[in-house]
């Protein structure tokens, strides 16, 4: 089943001679439960594509459908709510709240949505991401890899339909990168999550089921790969 669909997306930045076509005409379908990596050099348009697909940057043309709902045809409030409920995010710079501890960060979004926290499920994620001992630690006490694992736990906690990861290993050393990406993969498989991840690191992209190569605002290669 197709969970996310982008149709004839186009995004330009700037005006006149400074105009840059970040995305030229991209159509894309993401299968539910798949792990998709979008790779490309910086300036290739891969981040813009992710932002457009996540409802963060309105494209100049084209539509994005998440589970059949058109993101850019709804008002801001609805889009905000939809993002809170159906999307999870993992960012390059973790973006955790430093005055909250690990568990508070993980359940923050659920609280913002006035939903009950599924304690059992949250504990399971914490276990899975090897954060058990750090549950009540504060962010400054964690390494980069640990912080990113907290961010992944946060993304999973609200049981989103899809997780967007923007260079999740971009701020980590090689060893933590591998650890974090493997854990993301394990969680994705276990909970049958859909993940779409932007990266410039081929090694990291290799964990994906499908690799989209972007250059100059266009998809130049779309390869499926067997991955367990």
């Amino acid at each position: 089943m197709i969970i996310l669909e982008g149709k004839n997306l186009r995004k330009t930045y700037g005006y006149a001679e400074n105009k840059v076509d970040a995305i030229k005409n991209i159509s894309i379908e993401i299968e539910e439960g798949s792990f998709v990596a979008v790779v490309g050099t910086s300036g290739s348009g891969k981040s813009t594509l992710l932002h457009v697909l996540a409802g963060l940057v309105k494209p100049n043309a084209g539509k994005v459908y998440l589970q059949g709902e058109s993101l850019y045809d709804m008002n801001d409030d609805r889009l905000t709510r939809l993002r809170r409920r159906k999307m999870g995010f993992v960012f390059q710079f973790f973006n955790l709240i430093t005055t909250h501890n690990v568990i508070e960060n993980i359940v923050l979004l659920i609280h913002l949505d006035n939903r009950q926290v599924d304690e059992e499920y949250v504990d399971e994620i914490i276990d899975l991401l090897k954060l058990k001992e750090k549950k009540y630690a504060f962010i400054h006490e964690l390494s980069g890899g640990q912080q990113q694992r907290v961010a992944i736990a946060r993304a999973l906690a609200s049981k989103p339909a899809i997780i967007f990861a923007d260079e999740p290993t971009g701020n980590l050393d090689a060893k933590s990168s591998q650890e974090v990406i493997q854990l993301l993969k394990i969680a994705q498989r276990k909970y049958h999550e859909t993940v779409i991840m932007v990266t410039h690191d081929e090694m990291i992209a290799n964990v994906a089921d499908r690799i989209l190569r972007i250059e100059d605002g266009q998809i130049i290669q779309d390869t499926a790969q067997k991955n367990e």
Partner: protein, 221 residues
Amino acid sequence: MSEFLSQIDWDAMYVAIQETLLMTVVSLVIAVILGFVLGIILYITKEDGLYPHKVIHRILDFIINLFRAIPFIILIFLLLQFTIKIMGTMLGVKGALPALILSSAPFYARMCMIALSEIDKGTIEASKAMGASSWQIITKVLIPEAKPALISSMTVMAISLVGYTAMAGCIGSGGLGNLAYMYGYARQNMPVMYTATFFVLVIVFIIQIIGDLIVKRIDKR
């Protein structure tokens, strides 16, 4: 020593300490509330803020700068008519409050704005992306993140308020400053001057200690 102490009217000293504390606390509380609200409005109406609004931002920014720019002792005189009108008197603790509040609220507003501006933009963008509403970003992200800085600027302001209450003493606000000025300076009663100074210092040190303790307790970074 006993001769030194005998020159002090302890009842007056006791009343003066109470007055200084009262002026400081009341003006602190009101100025913090007022300044906090103004500071947040100033922050969110910025060009890249959560609710950008050029006109409100400019006007507020101007008013805050204006009141901060007027020296306190001049502000007291400028506000005399206003004070008499709303408080019914220009003397005592009541007479000092309007000037104390109007000079410190803008200061706190500016401090709030600075504290909020220092929060990592990425955190705010991330919260937005994850679906937090603007109101939730303010209450659940910005304010908690800025709390340590908000408290320490409260301490700074409380201490400068103690100083301001002493200045207000010159026009008869009561308090330790008034006592030091009237007895110590005008009547050349040095023991009163030194003792009043001593208690001002004690109050300032206590405020600093309490402020540091609170910040230490809530700062988890």
